[in-house]
Symmetry: C2
Subunit: 512 residues, 2 copies
């Protein structure tokens, strides 16, 4: 009735103070805040279990999901936080904590619009990436966004805008050379760990290649997971600059640098869903490369019936999208098709792949030749692409770097600069998986192998995974070992073995 | 190497026993299990925070998300559960609890296939609904499924199969009459609470109408939320049969009956995402009706610029889909278009809507006439559709039932049979939202009003919501009350008022 009422504008977020008490509950990256169900803030604000709230200590704040405690764990004047949230807020016992309503997520309108088949403009995508990077989205929101964007549902303009939005929500690295090389594999092929070898060859041949890698999304290992077996990879931007200044290269985890941080959040949920999409893949890869300061990026795309990219049509679509988005963002990409019909090297999983990489770099006689040949080919193409040598001269230059020991010395130097080179560990629990009959290896399902290696514990358990004993075309006898499962826990070994038995990844055909 | 190795098949799920200790943490419907990070099962099975695990006590089990405790809350030999999981497993202190690997969700392949644009067959949809109803999906999986199915991405055959799959994963009710009437509103129009009035009129006119309703998805109240203000709605199937035997009708919550239980899970995540889709809507509505034993269902579809259905084309698509799916499942539907340009009645929110319903049923002079007129129209059409009267005679029959007091007596009888009729409560905290200038009400945004009412606490707080003071075309003066916010907590009132101020739902145009 009176005007005065509507003019007394209420604050958007009112808040109440409670005191922090540690409970030591680890919820991984899902932040949880614990309040007693009788505390004043719950009643005043109408909070219930699972309400999304903003938690603030001093000048730091984050969005968390509320759990209510009905026991004496907490008094109505106390609050607790999951350990991840504790670390981010640097919470100490007795700290004053403010809990208020979570942000109104206006950007979710864009997610719904996308789900309903509409195209998003740059402002919508920026708003979504901003909220994602700030941790304001619950996992269900991220799952909806990812699902809405798969399978060509993003057009070219949207993919460019998404890429730029991802770059803009994070930090960027800049280098003082005209050509900064980079290399990436879209994945999908277990054991395809050419990146450390290509980086070592390229840097030994004079290129600047400050490589930042991701951890695995749906695979048993990412390059960062594998490199972490050998050397520290979670370096600050300042430390990466030192490493690159000293060696011309790095092999670090991008996630520690806050390059395209929204991507890191998206990737975790994509992993839970085992969901990949062209637009997401292109934006993820290119946003990391642009933020890392690359100018020339070689993209390795394995094509095969059970790889991530299965058909030539998919490759061509991806190449076109990747090339266009890169050009729109001012960088160059070279998309290289590689064979994706079977795993590369012998190991699948961080430590087993690290072993293969060391053998190739050290030119060991038993080193997996397929991994060596592929690395040489890619390094050669990268050297040509970056104008380090005339067209056609790349492979020979790469072989020289490898065989002379220059690439291995460069790799050692990079690892030393990052904090020291260490030897891969080995799994305690192993089980041979054998052939059920005589015959020829006619088909290897990379997806089933990857799934089996993940069930065995990879990539979280570095030593877990699969050690392959056969390749396509090999003749085997009944009882021969096809591959060996490696695990750090007996339960994981049993679980992976049971899955492998019920989902055979290797087909043994009639002997010729 | 030896055959013996691969023949010693490992069990799919190994397990370890720990003892239950209650901690009293409420996580709502997201089940959480707490283990000490040093407990044997974590090491043996390789569990980490957020691992999905199967928790078993005696013959009961469920799937939960693991949180790890690093403090003295639990010893390495103890386990705890969120309160919801405690209740389902009937856990008591000292119970032996087995924690093992969660199920391998093969049905997720179908979710991914759907996201990638493939059509799903009946077996895939059954497998997904089965896993959803059993609580095996994490919320991110459900979010991905819902997002993959929105906006016409499900074809007719899939929608029929989804509907049947949802019916088959739950209980069903059967009645001994040839015609069983039902009525449903697709929602989107705040305050449109005709169902209790239509049921009372229809039952008073001799129809059998055992109505089971849902709670709100994205709206400030569902019929079940509103009815719960007046009478118990969470009745067992046996109690519903008694109520229907006594009165020919019921007005209960379907969720307590395990009719189409997968739908109840989907609806909770859809609510968090504020995501609706044709196929999901049709499958949700029809699966509930089929499971409840209905043969003739009237579907009220409000059409308006800010209603759930905004255009005639959407209505026609929905009518076609609804009619086809119903026919394929052996029931009949009558889709009725109603005006969706503004809220119905005055109240928005459970208690305020209950007040309006009582006023109409009791033929109070001040009762909202739009709610009465709409209820009479729908009840008349339902009576004709169910062959209770000749075509064209329905509305007069409905008016007679209302004006004679027969409908009110029937409503009283239904509530008494369900456990007693009680009076709606009233909100302590209220705030008038006033007109910023003189003019005419030219537009009412139902979505913004619904959002405001939800921020005020509806439907969780029964008394929370909005009491409308104007309708389209009304002349107002600066400072006149447009509507009054009702809340149970001062924080919620302030939050809703702030949102309403920054997102005005009512447009005041130039006076004529």
């Amino acid at each position: 009735m009176s005007e005065a009422v509507s003019e007394s504008a209420a604050p958007v977020e009112s808040s109440h103070d409670v005191l922090f008490k540690p409970l030591g509950i680890d919820t991984w990256r899902e932040h949880v805040v614990y309040l007693h169900r009788d505390c004043a803030v719950c009643h005043a604000e109408g909070f219930t279990a699972q309400t999304r709230v903003t938690v603030t200590i001093g000048t730091r704040s984050l969005v968390a999901t509320l759990n209510l405690v009905g026991s004496a764990l907490l008094s109505p004047l106390q609050v607790s936080l999951s350990t991840g949230a504790c670390n981010i807020l640097q919470a100490r016992e007795g700290d004053i904590v403010r809990v208020s309503h979570g942000p109104t997520l206006d950007s979710l309108r864009g997610v719904r619009a996308k789900a309903y088949g509409h195209h998003l403009d740059r402002a919508q995508l920026c708003a979504i990436m901003h909220d994602v990077a700030a941790g304001r989205y619950a996992d269900v929101h991220i799952a909806a966004f990812l699902t809405a964007c798969v399978h060509g549902k993003m057009n070219l303009r949207e993919t460019v805008d998404l890429t730029r939005a991802m770059v803009e929500t994070g930090e960027t690295l800049r280098w003082d050379r005209a050509i900064i090389a980079d290399k990436h594999c879209v994945g999908g092929l277990p054991g395809n760990r050419t990146t450390p070898i290509v980086v070592a060859i390229a840097a030994a041949s004079g290129l600047m290649i400050p490589k930042t890698s991701s951890r695995a999304i749906t695979s048993p290992a990412g390059t960062a997971d594998m490199m972490e077996v050998l050397t520290p990879v979670a370096l600050s931007a300042g430390r990466v600059r030192e490493v690159v200044a000293a060696t011309g290269a790095s092999l670090v985890w991008g996630g520690a640098l806050s390059l395209s941080p929204a991507d890191d959040v998206l990737i975790q949920v994509a992993r839970a869903l085992e969901l990949d999409s062209d637009a997401q893949m292109v934006a993820s890869i290119l946003s990391k490369k642009i933020a890392a300061g690359a100018t020339h990026v070689l993209i390795d795309v394995p094509v095969g019936p059970s790889a991530k990219i299965r058909q030539e049509a998919d490759l061509n679509r991806l190449r076109k999208l990747m090339t266009h988005v890169a050009a729109a963002c001012g960088i160059r990409v070279l998309v290289v098709r590689t064979d994706g019909t079977q795993p590369v090297g012998r190991g699948i999983g961080p430590a087993l792949e690290a072993r293969d990489v060391l053998e190739v770099l050290q030119c060991k006689p038993g080193a997996p030749q397929d991994l060596r040949a592929r690395s040489v080919m890619l390094a050669g193409l990268l050297l040509e692409f970056c104008e380090s040598c005339p067209e056609g001269a790349g492979p020979a230059l790469a072989v020289r770097a490898l065989d002379s020991g220059a690439a291995w010395r460069k790799f050692e130097a990079i690892c030393e600069a990052q904090g020291g080179l260490r030897a891969p560990g080995e799994a305690v629990f192993r089980q041979d998986m054998t052939s059920p009959n005589d015959g020829i290896v006619t088909e290897i399902d990379c997806r089933l192998l990857a799934r089996t290696a993940r069930l065995a514990g990879a990539p979280e358990r570095q030593v877990a995974g699969i050690d392959m004993n056969v390749r396509l075309g090999d003749a085997v006898r009944r009882g021969d070992t096809l591959y060996t499962l490696h695990a750090q826990a007996s339960g994981e070994l049993a679980y992976a073995a049971a899955y492998a038995t019920s989902h055979p990844a290797i087909r043994i055909g009639e002997p010729r």
